[in-house]
């Protein structure tokens, strides 16, 4: 089976077997690959030193856009004669701080003065083509390479100083932006050494700093674009302006998988400012390009009005009768007879039959929309036979490949530049908007921004898969967890996008399995637990509803089912919810390891995080009068997180119960911290996003269409509903750093549900919680 790593590697190389998943988070720096990165240096156009990474596999990749090139520089650092340092980081920035954290890693090893570092997100020379990588776990995958780039630049500067002073380089040291030779009292700034350093041979191996010497990594650094953001400077895809450009809005069939049958554009053409109508046939894979009718106009407003005036007769396709009810029927059929058994250890049925106590829970999860606040948009210009795209692209390389399919242009005539992204959450892993912009620009022979409004964005998202899950779990007379039988019936992202991989592979992340003997048996997304009898089964319904990755994909739903069931079991047998978890987590030795391959999951780290969260969140102590505390834990893409939620519940209007979150105590292990300020921000943001989605997020399906129209009927968590306090703690660690854009989400909803159960006796088993009468206060 192709693993997520394989797909990520493919995506980085521009292979578009399938659009990339958010699971960039699981990208591993040590992934087995034939790719060879090497570091090169030279004279910059400014007369300074430039150090960059080349990758030979990018040039050799037959499907990639860079074939025939002598290596594609993916990031670099440049030291100018005036001492300015420019760092280009190729990873997209969506608010998770990559444009700050990644350059920090380079600057640390370079021993640069952060105040003199500029960060750019574009190649300086167009001959380099464009940005080439994507994925949401930038730090985890790039840590080693970025350190080597910075350390190489530093070594060259040191070597230049040593040569000038005729002293051994080993006698030199650096303080930020300066090389010193202590015994002779000489020192030189980086800028004065840059030109000489550019003439030297790149050393084959450079020493990396001892982490105890870090000056920058591990310190709080504010976002590098903050000044531009607070002054309203153009940064985002939707801010791209090209003289003479048009704006286009695309009408798509309101029924999923439908297409236009007949178009009457007469009224649309009469709308002032409307210039053109472009029919888009779409590609066979709807994650690449959906069929529709584009209205091209002088302004965004005219394009929206023109689209409203279109009269389209739709071929509604095969799913016009689909609804939540028809999906539930399919889900129930899967629960009754699960088609695939993914794991089966011990004798689950016997163990359940012999258990002293059995809990049998069914959980339901709705479709959820990404609703990135920056709506769907991308700009393309067709000029001299080439397409130039600029937009909020998380996967620039994939976008190029998909635009090539949509336009039939060869990839070397497609130039992609990613802008800052106004929120991703998984939506921008698709590149449909780039394909639309490229198609329309080529058709009209000019520059156009394809843009949608909130209604279009909500109606044509790639939603978080809906699922229905059943967990039966049993404890023995001593209160030990002896049987776990989990069935996941979930819409499959793989099935939707025609991915050849098994439909379950993206939907069972974080599910528990029993003992595994070898690394080969261990899917990195499953968690081996010390439970003697475990079965995991799966099935996916047939549906026309588009699905995609939504922040912490599949983890959010699966962690909720697992973590609320364990909590309920503990309560049922009068045991501590922490003790029961510690018992089933097991030890590091339970997880097989091979060679130098790090295990993707280490129970010892999860245990330490859980224990620390229980202590700091005072889980075992009585809560203040009228409040209760709940706890939950989860490992997501290599980062470990446990949270204690303290809440109270009051009577609200219309019989609703209003939940006030007084405090969330979050403890995580992300290995070496790079930017604690960003980690704290992601903790706050992830918890708030997780709360909003748990209480309110839902896209009902009626007659094959998404029901919500705008934020009026798609409710978002707001200022007043945020927790009164969020404490973000990180366990000290020198382990390889991992990402934190997604890991804070999965624990929060089950921790809330567990606290509500303690306080009120009500066990919530469905999202959104508002359906059970619970809202945030």
């Amino acid at each position: 089976m192709r693993t997520r790593r394989d797909v990520l590697e493919d995506a980085k190389r521009g292979v578009i077997v399938a659009p990339m998943e958010q699971d960039g988070a699981a990208r591993s720096a040590h992934a087995t690959t034939t790719r060879r990165d090497f570091i090169a240096a030279g004279l910059a156009a400014t007369g300074g030193l430039i150090v960059f990474v080349r990758s030979d596999a990018l040039a050799a990749e037959p499907h990639g856009p860079f074939q025939g090139r002598a290596g594609f520089p993916r990031e670099y650092v440049q030291v100018d004669p005036d001492g300015g340092v420019l760092i280009w980081s190729a990873q997209p920035e969506m608010g998770e701080g990559t444009r700050t954290s990644l350059p920090m890693i380079v600057a640390e090893e370079l021993d640069a003065d952060w105040a003199r570092v500029r960060i750019d997100d574009a190649p300086m020379d167009p001959k380099y083509g464009g940005q080439g990588v994507g994925g949401s776990d930038a730090i985890r995958s790039d840590w080693d390479r970025l350190r080597r780039v910075g350390a190489t630049a530093r070594a060259l500067l040191v070597a230049a100083a040593a040569a000038e002073w005729r002293v051994p380089p080993g006698e030199c040291e650096t303080t930020p932006h300066t090389v010193h030779h202590r015994s002779s009292g000489r020192s030189a700034g980086y800028g004065t050494l840059a030109a000489a350093a550019a003439m030297l041979q790149v050393p084959p191996d450079v020493a990396l700093k001892d982490p105890t010497a870090y000056r920058l990594v591990g310190t709080r650094r504010a976002g590098s674009d903050n000044l531009k953001i607070v002054t309203g400077a153009p940064l985002y895809g939707i801010d791209v302006r090209i003289p003479g450009m048009k704006y286009a809005a695309i009408a798509k069939c309101p029924v999923f998988a439908g297409r236009p049958r007949r178009v009457d554009a007469a009224a649309a053409r009469r709308v002032p400012g409307v210039r053109d109508i472009v029919e888009i046939p779409g590609l066979d894979n709807p994650t690449f390009l959906m069929p529709g009718v584009a209205v091209v106009a002088d302004t965004t407003w005219a394009a929206f009005r023109g689209r409203d005036a279109l009269v389209v007769e739709w071929d509604e396709g095969p799913y016009a009768q689909e609804s939540d009810a028809t999906l539930t029927t399919q889900f129930n059929q899967i629960l009754a007879a699960p088609p695939a058994t993914l794991h089966n250890s011990g004798r689950v049925d016997d163990a359940l039959a012999g258990a002293a106590r059995v809990i049998d829970n069914t959980f339901s999860f709705p479709f959820v929309s990404h609703v990135t606040l920056e709506p769907h948009n991308c700009t393309a210009e067709f000029r001299d036979g080439h397409l130039y795209l600029r937009g909020p692209m998380q996967m620039p390389t994939n976008a190029r490949g998909i635009v090539a399919r949509a336009t039939t242009l060869p990839p070397d005539r497609i130039h992609v530049q990613a802008t800052r992204i106004g929120g991703g959450f998984g939506r921008r892993l698709m590149s449909d908007y780039a394909a639309e912009a490229g198609y329309v620009a080529m058709t009209i022979g000019g520059a156009v921004m394809v843009v949608d409004n909130r209604e279009g964005d909500l109606q044509h998202d790639y939603y978080r898969p809906a699922s229905l899950q059943r967990v039966r779990a049993g404890v023995d007379a001593a209160g030990r967890l002896v049987a776990w039988d989990h069935i996941v019936a979930s819409c499959s992202r793989n099935a939707y996008r025609k991915d050849p991989r098994a439909p379950h592979s993206t939907e069972v992340y974080g599910c528990m399995v029993g003992a595994v003997q070898t690394v080969a048996q261990m899917d990195p997304d499953l968690k081996p637990m010390r439970i003697p009898n475990v079965r995991l089964r799966f099935g996916a319904p047939l549906t026309g509803v588009p699905t995609g990755a939504w922040r912490a994909p599949a983890h959010v739903a699966n962690a909720f089912a697992i973590e609320t069931t364990i909590d309920e079991l503990a309560a049922a047998v009068g045991r501590s919810a922490v003790d029961l978890r510690l018992e089933v987590l097991g030890e590091t030795a339970d997880i097989p390891r091979a060679g130098n391959e790090r295990s993707p999951y280490d129970p010892a780290r999860m245990r330490a995080v859980l224990i620390a969260a229980a202590e700091r969140g005072r889980y075992a102590e009585p809560a203040p009068e009228g409040r209760a505390r709940g706890i939950a834990m989860h490992e997501t893409f290599g980062s470990y997180c446990a949270q204690v939620v303290e809440l109270s519940v009051a009577a609200g209007r219309n019989g609703q119960r209003v939940v006030t979150i007084h405090r969330v105590t979050s403890v995580a292990d992300v290995g070496q911290m790079v930017n604690p300020g960003t980690l704290e921000a992601q903790t706050q943001g992830g918890i708030i996003d997780g709360l909003g989605a748990a209480f309110y997020g839902s896209v009902p399906i009626v007659n094959g269409r998404a029901v919500p129209r705008n934020f009026g009927d798609y409710r978002m968590i707001r200022f007043r509903e945020a927790p009164l306090a969020i404490d973000a703690h990180f366990l000290p660690s020198r382990a390889h750093p991992t990402g934190f854009g997604e890991p804070p989400l999965p624990p929060v909803a089950p921790a809330v549900a567990n606290a509500i159960a303690r306080l009120t006796g009500v066990r919530i088993r469905s999202m959104p919680f508002i359906r059970a009468g619970f809202v945030l206060g």
């Binding site: 976002g223 921000a681 708030i688 705008n710």
Partner: protein, 166 residues
């Protein structure tokens, strides 16, 4: 159509536009002021907030006709209302490293600035009432809460003239 006269960031501008065009689109697509953001087009999210005669107003539901003749300040012009230095709200947003994706922040800042311009020491309830009309998809609400209190401090320290600065 006769041109419509607007006063945007202290400049008088005559525009040829359908008087029903929302001010948001005039700012973004005709005047090139893209700092004011499009989020929902229906006044739910607050991303498009500007000051009209000093008061935080949704530009996505305000027609150009109704904006005519009134003093409009966008995020690009906010610092100019503070003598060219960053407004205390902008300064506090930097100090507290508020933005994540940053897309909603122009609107959040305009509402916070309007609140402080009228209420130098807003209560928690004043703040919640003002800011609840904004959606931050990244969930920066906690840092917004902290930064707003800091902005009130900065404003009290640096500006004792009070009144409507925009």
């Amino acid at each position: 159509m006769p041109p419509i006269s607007l006063n945007v960031n202290g400049r008088s501008i005559d525009v040829d536009a359908d008087p029903q065009t929302p001010l948001l689109w005039l700012l973004r697509d005709e005047l090139g002021l893209t700092g004011t953001k499009f989020g929902c087009g229906r006044g739910f999210c607050g991303a498009c907030t500007v000051h009209v005669d000093g008061v935080a107003t949704r530009s996505c539901t305000l027609t150009t006709e109704r904006a005519a003749g009134r003093r409009i300040t966008t995020i690009e012009g906010l610092a100019a209302t503070n003598g060219g230095a960053l407004h205390p709200v902008q300064q506090a947003w930097l100090e507290h490293d508020v933005p994540q994706c940053g897309y909603c922040q122009a609107g959040q800042i305009m509402t916070a600035a309007s609140l402080l311009n009228r209420t130098a020491r807003p209560s928690e309830s004043d703040v919640a009432t003002a800011m609840n009309g904004h959606i931050c998809r990244c969930g920066t609400y906690i840092r917004i809460r902290e930064a707003l209190q800091r902005a009130a401090q900065l404003r009290a320290g640096s500006d004792d003239t009070g009144g409507d600065a925009s």
